[in-house]
Subunit: 428 residues, 2 copies
């Protein structure tokens, strides 16, 4: 939460005060002017200045009346859901899914455009088509588009550096989508966006520091530290799947040896079961569900492979907890969801590896948003900007008139943002 101000740089002060009011209405739904003032620390005058401005810009609406405190019942204010819309895009599996959300985070419209996973150009075409379909039906101003993609993403430049699943290499996805739809675009790693979604709407609500780990065909982490998505210095972070678990181990898809992904992903688990059963891995090997079912039916090999995967995951998560000490770990994906045969040895190893009582007490839980995390998160990385000190760049009708804002002013906004990197946005 930013600090209140009515300082001598009126443009900057107004931005800060507006951010306070916007964030309060986002988290509380609707509030009276009195309650907005009380919770923001602003004076009533300053609060109503902001409220009037936001009402005039159509960002707020009057929304019924509240309880009387002795006099007239006060007018309540809420965000105007139709003041603007954001689009989230999830590119994974066999389809590009796009969905629009109101300023309040309510879903508006959704579409899925299937693609041929082996043709990376067709994937990009599907993304653009999905966005176009949803954008056409957005019933108001489009504020921005967020895209979550699997693989290595350079958030600063909106570039997918490498996505083995999609066959993308150094693809300037942000530029492409932004040029096509003329709106700001944020491209981020799928685990980062899911971490933010779980933090805002899912298992991580109310925690200031969360690490989200998705364990499925790959293993990726997203971190919300101090209430904000942490992206590292270079816009690439959270690459937990290629943690070296055994420097002399099996060769990974990344070309390195002994990565966690060689042991604890869906394909690794299937492959280990096949190889322990003595058969070579073929196109007709068991699916992941079959492996899991076999394990719970008593199959010794399947049980052993799940147990070992759990143990290695627990070791990697223990390392992470010892390093970062988050309040909560949120685990997603089919491997994390394969039940107690994997979960119990994982937790045991994690607790065993934890060096301090506090680290050992970290809350570990399943993700709540399931398949929705990717698309909701992609929209949420845009909403995070809309409700930040940079909101003028995203919300219509609030741009300062007269001389354009200086670069320095813009930078100063971000200094207050702690360790969040600049996300790709307008003017960049």
């Amino acid at each position: 939460m930013v600090k209140s101000t009515e300082g001598n740089n009126p443009r900057q002060s107004r931005r800060i005060n507006r951010t306070l009011v916007l964030q309060l209405l986002r988290t509380h739904g609707r509030l009276s002017g009195f309650d907005l003032a009380k919770r923001s620390g602003l004076s009533l005058t300053a609060t109503y200045n902001v409220v009037e401005e936001l009402l005039a810009a159509g960002v707020l609406v009057e929304h019924g009346v509240g309880q009387s405190r002795g006099g007239r019942r006060p007018i309540l204010y809420s965000l105007n859901p139709s003041a603007g819309y954001v689009v989230g895009v999830d590119v994974s599996g066999h389809a590009a899914a796009a969905e629009s959300f109101s300023l309040c985070g309510d879903p508006v419209g959704r579409i899925e455009v299937p693609f041929e996973p082996t043709r990376s150009a067709s994937i990009l075409a599907s993304v653009l088509e999905a966005v176009a379909c949803v954008v056409r039906k957005v019933p108001g101003p489009l504020l921005g588009i967020g895209v979550g993609a699997p693989g290595l993403v350079d958030t600063l430049h909106g570039t997918v550096l490498q996505s083995a699943n999609l066959g993308w290499l150094d693809l300037p996805l942000g530029q492409i989508v932004s040029a096509r739809f003329r709106r700001p675009v944020i491209v981020d790693n799928d685990a980062n966006v899911a971490a933010l979604a779980e933090s805002w709407y899912g298992a991580g609500r109310g925690y200031r520091s969360l690490v989200y780990v998705r364990i499925d065909t790959g293993i990726g982490a997203g971190m919300v530290l101090g209430g904000q998505l942490y992206r590292g210095e270079w816009g690439v972070s959270g690459e937990l799947g290629h943690t070296t678990i055994d420097p002399d181990g099996t060769v990974c898809t990344c070309g390195r040896t002994g990565c966690l992904e060689t042991i604890a992903t869906v394909p690794a688990i299937i492959q280990r079961v096949c190889s322990l059963r003595g058969g070579a891995m073929t196109g007709n090997g068991p699916g992941f569900n079959e492996v899991v079912s076999a394990a719970y039916a008593g199959d010794a090999v399947a049980r052993r492979v799940l147990r070992e995967a759990g143990k290695y995951l627990g070791a990697a998560l223990g390392n992470l907890v010892n390093l970062l000490s988050p309040a909560i770990l949120v685990l997603a994906g089919r491997v994390a969801g394969s039940g107690p045969l994997l979960w119990e040895p994982m937790i045991a190893e994690l607790r065993h590896r934890a060096l301090s009582p506090a680290a050992g007490a970290v809350r570990v839980t399943r993700a709540e948003l399931g398949d929705r995390a990717g698309i909701v998160g992609a929209a949420t990385v845009v909403l995070e900007q809309v409700f930040s000190l940079s909101h003028e760049d995203w919300l219509p009708g609030l741009k300062p008139k007269g001389r354009s804002r200086s670069r320095r002013e813009h930078d100063e906004d971000w200094d207050a943002g702690g360790d969040v990197q600049k996300a790709a946005g307008p003017g960049r």
Copy 2:
């Protein structure tokens, strides 16, 4: 840097404005009122209000005159070094060292009190004696005491949870020192304090995100993320030495198996050389310097052990860089300083493990402060508070008069602090 304000909560606004001025004078040495206003974004009136108040409290002094901008040459202001002093304590090896520093970070007086490493009560007595000696000679108000200790430290409560080197277990060191000297005390892990010292005064100057790793008798990391010391949710973080490198590997001193410390610390390296030479480890085995000398003289076993230690370190650092993506890695300790036979394979493995070009480009450098990092850092964790929004709790003459500050006001200060945990301080 905090945001400027002249808001309607005058006490809070004054705190914010003061923090801006204090931080500018800390980093710039001396500035005119005009330059303070320009750099802080405050009006000249607001700036001079703060300057007058800080002059009256003795925190600032007039310090010569600057260049004329057409009229009279302006008065320059600087921190008053004798406005207050902080004491840093380094407990490691065979002595407790305490040193006092002025508000400007200049060293004032220092003492070392040797202790018997096997007697943990004697160590505590040495700490208290060292602090007492230095405190007696501090030529002005004592603002606070910072203690850096090896091992697991719960910063929130000022408790050393576990220090194998010192034989301490759940020692409420902060309470003990605070009760004795009646000043606020911050106890932190030695790697954390060194990380902050390198960030303020050493190899990390100018970088917003830094990971410091000390590789010596143990391996510990400290993180400065977004300009602030990151302590995790529970006040315990940075435990890199017990990263699992091989879940089925050698048993570590912590009782777990396959920790990085079983391969790449000073004792581990000596032990591996002895065991590869076929002799059991005895009290008369080679020292670390002998191992290093033998390696550079061509001894195949010593070379191999250093090379392998480097490779495992590189893998662990690569994991860390892939996860956190810091701007710079600062490495300290005898192992990190053992020259190219270890450094080169370490860097090669780190670059090999780095998943993105950005992660591969992370700057890796030796620490600059050497043995001074611990004691300077212990003082710096106190100075970090003195120059924070909480400065009223640390600087004399600035406490608000009248009703005492509410708990809520106090908490709000810290909300602006991003992910820094509350450090032990007055009122706690």
